[in-house]
Structure formats: C-alpha cells, structure tokens
C-alpha cells in the first residue's frame, strides 16, 4: 500500500469502518511510515479538539432567557 492509497481510505480507518483485510495492510504501512502515522494521529487530534472545544461563551442574558423560557414551557406541560 502506498501513502496516497492510505490517504484515500483514511476516513474508513479513522472511523473503524475499514475492511479487516485492508486494515492489516493499513497497519503494516503505518508501522513503517512515520509521516502517515503522524497524519493519522493529527487527524484524530483534530477531531477530538472540535468535539471537546466549547469556544463560544453562552451570553449571560441569553442563558437567563433560555432557562426562563424552559421553565414557562415546563409549567404549561
């Protein structure tokens, strides 16, 4: 497997949806190819960052309005 072929099925590997036969070949490639190993690791960290980041603060006045609206709706249920 070449680096470019690895890249074309990178999603399937990262998402754990790769065919087991190809997965072995993928891992063998990663074992001997540092750049590809780093790219896969970079991608995983990129996804983790966006999953975990809460980069926008909830404005306080909006939060108050939100909870007030929810309490109103709760009482009318």
């Amino acid at each position: 497997m070449k680096c470019t072929e690895l890249l074309a099925i990178l999603n399937e590997y990262v998402d754990g949806e790769i065919d087991p036969g190809i997965c072995d070949e993928y891992r063998e490639h990663l074992d001997r190819c540092d750049p590809c190993q780093v790219v896969v690791d970079n991608i995983r960290k990129t996804i983790t960052l966006y999953r975990d980041a809460e980069e926008f603060e909830l404005p306080t006045d909006f939060r108050d309005r939100l909870h007030s609206a929810l309490r109103d709706r709760w009482r009318r249920r």
Binding site: L49, R51, P59, R63, L66, R73, W74
Partner: protein, 232 residues
Amino acid sequence: MSIVDSDSPLLSRAREGDLTAFEELVTRHEKRVYAVARRMLRNDHDAQDVTQETFLSALDHLPRFREETRFGSWLLTIATHAALKVIRRRKGLELVPLEDAADAIGGVPTPEWIAPWSRSPVELLETRETLRHLVAALDELADKYRLVFLLRDVARMSVRDTAAALGISEANVKVRLLRARLQLRERLTRLFGDSTRRMEPHRHDEQPEPPSVLGGALVTSGTVAAPSDRDI
C-alpha cells in the same frame, strides 16, 4: 439496547417531573449545543434561536426519548437539524449551494505540513488562543465541507443521516468529510505541530513497487484522486 450515559439519573428524575433535574441537564449541555449551532450558522443571534428551539423541543419530546442514544448526541442532532433549517432559509442570500455541481474539480490535497503536535488536545484546550485558532480554521472551510464535518465528527451523525439531512449522496458525504478533515489537519498542524520534528512526506511512491492489492496508482501532482465531490 440502552447505553451507559452519565445523564441517565438526571433524565429519570426529569421525566418524573423534577424541573431542577431538567435544568441541570440543560446546564450540562447548553454550551456544547450553542457551540455547534454557532459554528454552523456563524451568527450569534441565529445560534441563540437554534439553542432555545433545541431545548424546547427536547423538553416537549422528553417522554419519547429512548436511551438507545446518548442524551447529548440526541440534543446535537436536534440542533443540527434546526440550524440547517435556518441555513436553508438563507439559501440564495449568502450560502454556497449545498449541492454544488461546479465543485468536481481536483482530488484530495496531500498533506504538506507533517509534524507531531507538541501538546495534547487536553493541554491545547486550556488556552483561549487554541479556541481562536479552531474558530478561524473552521471559518476557512467552505460551507459544504464545514457542515459535513460538524454533522459527522462533532454531532456524530451517521453517513446516512448526514446525507439525508443535507440532501446529498452518501458518497458525497464521505469525500467532503475527507477533504474537511485534511484541510483542518493541515491548518492546525501548521499551528500546533512541533516544527523541530517536521518530516517530509514518505517518498516510496516514487520507487518501483509491486502492484498493490488496491490496484493502480492514485497519485496525481499534489493530489490524490478521489471520488468526485459532485453528487454521484
């Protein structure tokens, strides 16, 4: 089958009529929901409307929520659908069409800046600077890539559900996600990569190699041939 979810005890209490428990659930998830809506919409006011709509809808549907999925994932799915409604209302104003037939040119860019990151995601998330970089990198992505990335990788929707939500094919979802991930990786690695450990792409592609089980070379100059981004 139900899954283990740390929200389950609060959910049970909320269903039994405990408003405090429900508000605690909202407090746990409101920042994440707002962040996803804000990333999708790039507008504070619209993101607030979507966040409120999401929690009101969750409240209305609470009795019908089945614990086959995490409560947090369920909320993000509601939020992404609500945000897409807003985007579709805007369509024709500023949004690039979700299904852009002109965007079939080129393949997937090969990684250029390759280096291990010098800090872990947890360490990186401790600084406001990282958060600013994340916003900027995501803002640089075209809408069609950004939305697929947010639905698949952040809201954790399936390929099928993402395709249905965006009105594109599953093949298209996959190729857009690959491009989105690679573009974000490139940008973030230039910022977070350890430049002293930067490495050249592996050059074995240029050497004679026995035929691979995957078939012919996919290499073009600087890109990897991939399925067209156009809906196929």
